[in-house]
Amino acid sequence: MTSPQPRTRVVLVDDHSLVRAGVRAELSSRLDIVGEAEDVSDAITCILRTTPDVVLLDVHLPGGTGDVVIRAVHATAPETRFLALSVSDAEDDVIRVIRAGARGYVTKTIGGDELADAIDRVSAGDAVFSPRLAGFVLDAFTGGTPPEPERESDLDVLTPREREVLRMIARGYTYRETAAELFVSIKTVETHVSSVLRKLQLSNRRELTRWASERRLLP
């Protein structure tokens, strides 16, 4: 028998204690919850002190938003991985936190097993794409104005293969099902998704950068 894998170390950041309690209850059998935090400054201190593998991060926190935490932590500990967990599925919340450096976004309606799977995936270095996130990405990269030809780089356009993979994910297919459908290996699917994530984080397309300056009209 192989020696047991060390359990993934996770920090929970959410301002609702009931949510943290619920997540802790669902995950503690599979993962180690090494820390909890309620607001931006607590989160940064806790994460830097406990150096977890993955941080489950709420998008809306007292004192700021999740992307502030990500940037602050990545300045000193760039290997920490963030998975955004939120009630909101608003486009600008999602994209803002991904562009700040999160490797996935799931909503709080997710089940316990799925959440644990998602954390494992992020911990292994892959991206977690919910169908809705895939939809946002497709919208941002295929709709709207194409970037100016002189400034267009590889980062601003999705390859046809990437677009196919995203469509399958948006349709609700798991990675395994996508791989079967497209006759490729799961690894290939993961590679495409990681590449899309990178483009999402680095592209200068107007649809993605405008949220950096815009604020929602609602508080």
């Binding site: 608003a90 939809g135 919208d139 349709r171 609700g172 009209l217």
Partner: protein, 403 residues
């Protein structure tokens, strides 16, 4: 202090006490915080500009309401001698104007400009006026470097002297009679207006747009709060009453979660869009059956009769999945591009065999496929027993006349 001046907004009123003629200058002085004598001098001085001062005073008289009568402060007339003094000065100005020959030609442009400034001033509230004043102070201070009241007096007197001097000089030269009529008054008026009104105008536009944004934001906030409170209260009341029926409670909770999420986080879909139609259809199914419908949309489309048929077909497909598949989680993916609209309705339930014609499954194939084909689209069903179902609906878009 006249009773009309509320502590927060100082509106412009014509004062009853301390007035010489109609209380315009004293009201203005109270409102702007400028010495009343200066204002009166100003009115008289502008008579020089083709009798403009008289017109201006008359305009104020007509437009500005009189202060409400206060029983404690009797309406008195201001110093009689002051009135005589200014009247004399006014007559002198009129005579001088006649002598120099400043016609009423520039009366109307000047009147329009001052009216505009006055209207802007009226619309402003107190904090804006403070800002404007400080802006004007800063502007004039750049030129003169002195406190405001003295600055204005200096500018006015200076302009007056220049006017009189140049006027009397030019009056002695017949040849330039025509040129003087056109250029000099215009120059003086423009310069004066720019000095005084310039900083105000600049700040005004900025203030106006900032104000508008703030107002919209406030309006949205209030509206949302009202909606949320009302709806949440109703739902919570209902939940209390049906607490013994867990299915019902779950349905209510799910519905209010969806509504709240829609208000808080989703951009309002216009009523006539594909997005709104699909969301409405999935909400219907979610209300009736214990399922969650996950809707992902890429792109957008207007609703034509063919699109409506598509939406109905989607409804059928989702209903069938909810009724028969056994999967509590359904996904609907809608992709609207320029050429076609494609919708995928997927469940990971028990599926069915396409060959077997079950009594209720007949509906899916015939109604969905037939409906789509009637409108120029197509429907494809992929399923097998035990491996879920995916219904794919496509509708090519006929190029429309509008954008």
């Amino acid at each position: 202090m006249p009773p009309s001046s509320a502590p927060t907004t100082r509106r412009l009123y014509r004062r009853r006490d301390g007035r010489l003629v109609a209380g315009v200058a004293s009201g203005l002085s109270e409102h702007l915080g400028i010495d009343v004598v200066l204002l009166r001098a100003g009115f008289v001085a502008t008579i020089l500009l083709g009798g403009f001062g008289v017109v201006l005073y008359a305009a104020f008289w007509v437009v500005v309401p009189q202060a409400a009568e206060d029983p404690e402060t009797p309406s008195t007339h201001g110093s009689r001698s002051q009135l005589i003094g200014f009247a004399a000065l006014g007559i002198g100005m009129l005579a001088l104007a006649q002598l120099i020959g400043f016609g009423p030609g520039l009366l109307w442009p000047a009147a329009a400009a001052v009216t505009g400034a006055a209207i802007l001033w009226r619309q402003a509230d107190d904090s804006q006026r403070v800002r404007w004043r400080s802006g004007a102070v800063r502007g004039t201070r750049l030129i003169t470097g002195a406190p405001r009241a003295h600055t204005l007096l200096r500018i006015c007197l200076g302009l007056l002297l220049v006017t009189i001097g140049l006027g009397s000089f030019l009056a002695t030269h017949e040849a330039v009679h025509q040129a003087r009529r056109a250029t000099l008054p215009v120059l003086i008026v423009v310069l004066g207006l720019v000095l005084v009104v310039g900083p105000w105008m600049l700040q005004t536009f900025q203030q106006l747009s900032a104000e508008r944004t703030a107002r919209i934001r406030e309006h949205e906030r209030v509206e949302l709060a009202g909606q949320v409170h009302d709806s949440m209260l109703q739902t919570l009341t209902l939940i209390q009453r049906r607490a013994d029926n867990p299915d019902e409670v779950l349905r209510l909770v799910r519905r209010s979660e969806r509504e709240l999420r829609g208000w808080l986080y989703t951009a309002a879909a216009s009523q006539e869009s594909l997005r709104a139609a699909i969301l409405a259809v999935s909400a219907e199914v979610e209300d009736e059956y214990p399922v969650t419908v996950d809707v992902v949309m890429v792109g957008e489309s207007a609703v034509t009769p063919a699109v409506e048929a598509l939406v109905q077909a989607v409804r059928e497909a989702v209903l069938n999945a909810a009724k028969h598949s056994g999967d509590p989680k359904l996904s609907v993916y809608v992709e609207a591009s320029g050429e076609e609209i494609a919708v995928f309705v997927r469940d990971r339930g028990k599926g069915f065999s396409l060959d077997a014609v079950a009594e209720d499954r007949y509906g899916v194939r015939e109604s969905v496929v037939a409906r789509m084909r009637r409108h120029g689209g197509d429907a494809e069903i992929r399923t097998a027993a035990g491996s879920g179902t995916e219904v794919r609906l496509t509708l090519p878009k006929v190029p429309a006349n509008d954008s």
